[in-house]
């Protein structure tokens, strides 16, 4: 907790850390000066998180929808007299962003869940031939998924077993998957302090894991 917060020096909130500002906004829900500062610091972040949370669903014709969701993000933070904001425990700027991202992602999920529920209709009547065709399609997909799952499971077990650095085996495999399956670049992964690695170290981990996998496959 910063001195500014402890000694109540919070006229415009400019002196406050992001974490203290968040908590104080929760305590003073109608303090226009504090919320103005909140808006100045985090409004674009909120919009960005909403947009990214919508992922592939976000298109230029969804701007109105994104605006509604962003508004819901603010409302969610104010629920129960700002309990979420008041109970925020973090200290770092990253923890504030992580908090906002959690709220934004959850609001987006709830939005789509609600939309999906509204769109749900009674079962459609289809022809027998149509049902058979759908069955054939689903069976093929299921086989494909099963194969992918099995391969993935074998790969993970093999990779974990073959990893010379046993202490960091899980982390290295996780990085490998994030890079090759989820498509994150080395730079993006290194940007998160949780992995505790710089770009070069991540590259090393990736190349080692790749080499182990190759060796295993050759056997």
């Amino acid at each position: 907790m910063t001195d500014a917060f402890r000694f109540g020096r919070q006229a415009a909130g400019e002196d406050l850390s992001s974490a203290d500002l968040l908590r104080l906004c929760g305590q003073r829900l109608t303090d226009a000066a504090l919320w103005k500062e909140f808006q100045r610091r985090f409004h674009k972040t909120v919009l960005t998180f909403v947009m990214r949370g919508m992922c592939n669903a976000f298109r230029n014709d969804c701007l109105e929808e994104a605006c509604d969701i962003a508004q819901d993000v603010y409302l969610r933070m104010l629920d129960n007299d700002g309990r979420m904001l008041r109970s925020f425990k973090g200290d770092t700027d990253f923890s504030v962003k992580a908090f906002l991202s959690r709220v934004a992602v959850n609001v987006v999920f709830d939005h789509y869940r609600r939309s999906k529920a509204e769109k749900r209709r009674p079962a459609e009547v289809i022809s027998i031939e149509g049902a058979r065709q759908q069955g054939r399609d689903l069976a093929g997909e299921a086989v494909e998924l099963d194969t992918a799952s099995i391969l993935s499971w074998i790969d993970v077990e093999r990779l974990m077993d073959s990893e010379s650095d046993r202490r960091n085996a899980a982390r290295n495999v996780l990085i490998f998957k994030l890079h090759h399956v989820d498509g994150f670049s080395v730079q993006e992964i290194a940007g998160f302090p949780g992995f505790g690695l710089k770009e070069t170290a991540i590259r090393d981990a990736l190349s080692k894991t790749r080499a182990h996998l190759q060796r295993r496959m050759e056997k």
Binding site: L47, C67, W153, A170
Partner: protein
């Protein structure tokens, strides 16, 4: 994999756990446990990937453009994420009704008060208009402008203020009553004036010197039998206000009529120190000289 075997790797991670992992705020043992789960559980890893996408620092060019459009739309919709103070529950209609009735009463009170107050003002103007043509008697009542004395007996030419006005002035209010007694004096109806003024001087809240003076005038003008009462009232007026000019004038006049020349002279001098230049001063000087 591995959606089925995720159960073998423990409970799935909450959103907070996932972001804590990304922040690096976990101790080594917990972090290793989380990594083992994330490697095995595709759901959790996919959610971790989602948070990584949401939280990444770099903004893509297409994101920049979309963000600008979104921000413009937000501004156009005039959405301000500053919570307004909570609106209080609206008052029930009965409260508005009561407030309206109360407001009507208040307005009626002030309108009534001002209209009552205006009557004495109009009445006093009428009386002033009457006495401005002729001074009815030698003594001086409060608020009377100076005019050379032209005392006559009551006649058809006496002040012609309508009796209706007198009645109205004496019945409406205390202020009107005071104007009424002034008017009764002007009309030389001394008995009625004495009756009203005696009521006035019995006010337990205290009586101003003006009322004592005017009652003294009524006694003085009603004949020598009431001179003692007149003297007492003038003295009461001076006791209340030692520099009361009309009371000094009238008492000097009374002493002159009683033949108490020395007392009259002394009071005249007192009066002249207060009012050396007016018509009243000139008149009382002449009487003292006589």
């Amino acid at each position: 994999m591995n959606r089925q075997s995720a159960a073998n790797h423990g409970e799935c991670l909450s959103d907070e756990c996932l972001t804590d992992y990304l922040e690096g705020s976990l101790d080594l043992v917990v972090r290793s446990a989380f990594e083992s789960h994330l490697v095995a559980c595709d759901d959790c890893r996919e959610k971790l990937a989602l948070f990584m996408r949401v939280l990444r620092e770099e903004t893509q060019p297409h994101e920049e453009a979309a963000l600008q459009q979104l921000d413009d739309l937000w501004a156009a919709r005039k959405l301000h994420p500053v919570p307004a103070p909570r609106r209080r529950k609206p008052f029930p209609k009965i409260v508005f009704s009561i407030a309206g009735i109360a407001a009507l009463f208040i307005i009626a009170f002030f309108v009534g008060k001002s209209s009552l107050g205006s009557k004495p003002s109009v009445a006093k103007q009428a009386v002033d208009a009457v006495v401005s043509h002729r001074r009815p008697f030698e003594p001086r009542v409060v608020g009377q402008d100076y005019m050379a004395v032209q005392e006559v007996t009551r006649s058809a030419e006496d002040p012609a203020v309508p009796d209706v006005l007198v009645a109205k002035m004496t019945e409406d209010s205390a202020v009107a009553y005071e104007v009424g007694r002034y008017f009764l004096l002007v009309k030389k109806e001394y008995a009625k004036a004495i009756k009203h003024l005696k009521t006035a001087v019995s006010d337990p809240k205290g009586v101003p010197a003006d009322v004592h003076n005017d009652l003294g005038v009524a006694y003085l003008q009603s004949g020598p039998a009431n001179f003692a009462d007149a003297e007492a009232e003038f003295k009461n007026a001076l006791e209340t206000s030692p520099t009361h000019e009309p009371a000094l004038f009238n008492l000097a006049l009374l002493y002159g009529r009683l033949g108490r020349t020395a007392d009259a002279e002394e009071l005249t001098q007192q009066y002249l120190t207060l009012d050396p230049n007016s018509g009243w001063a000139e008149e009382i000087q002449k009487k003292a000289g006589n």
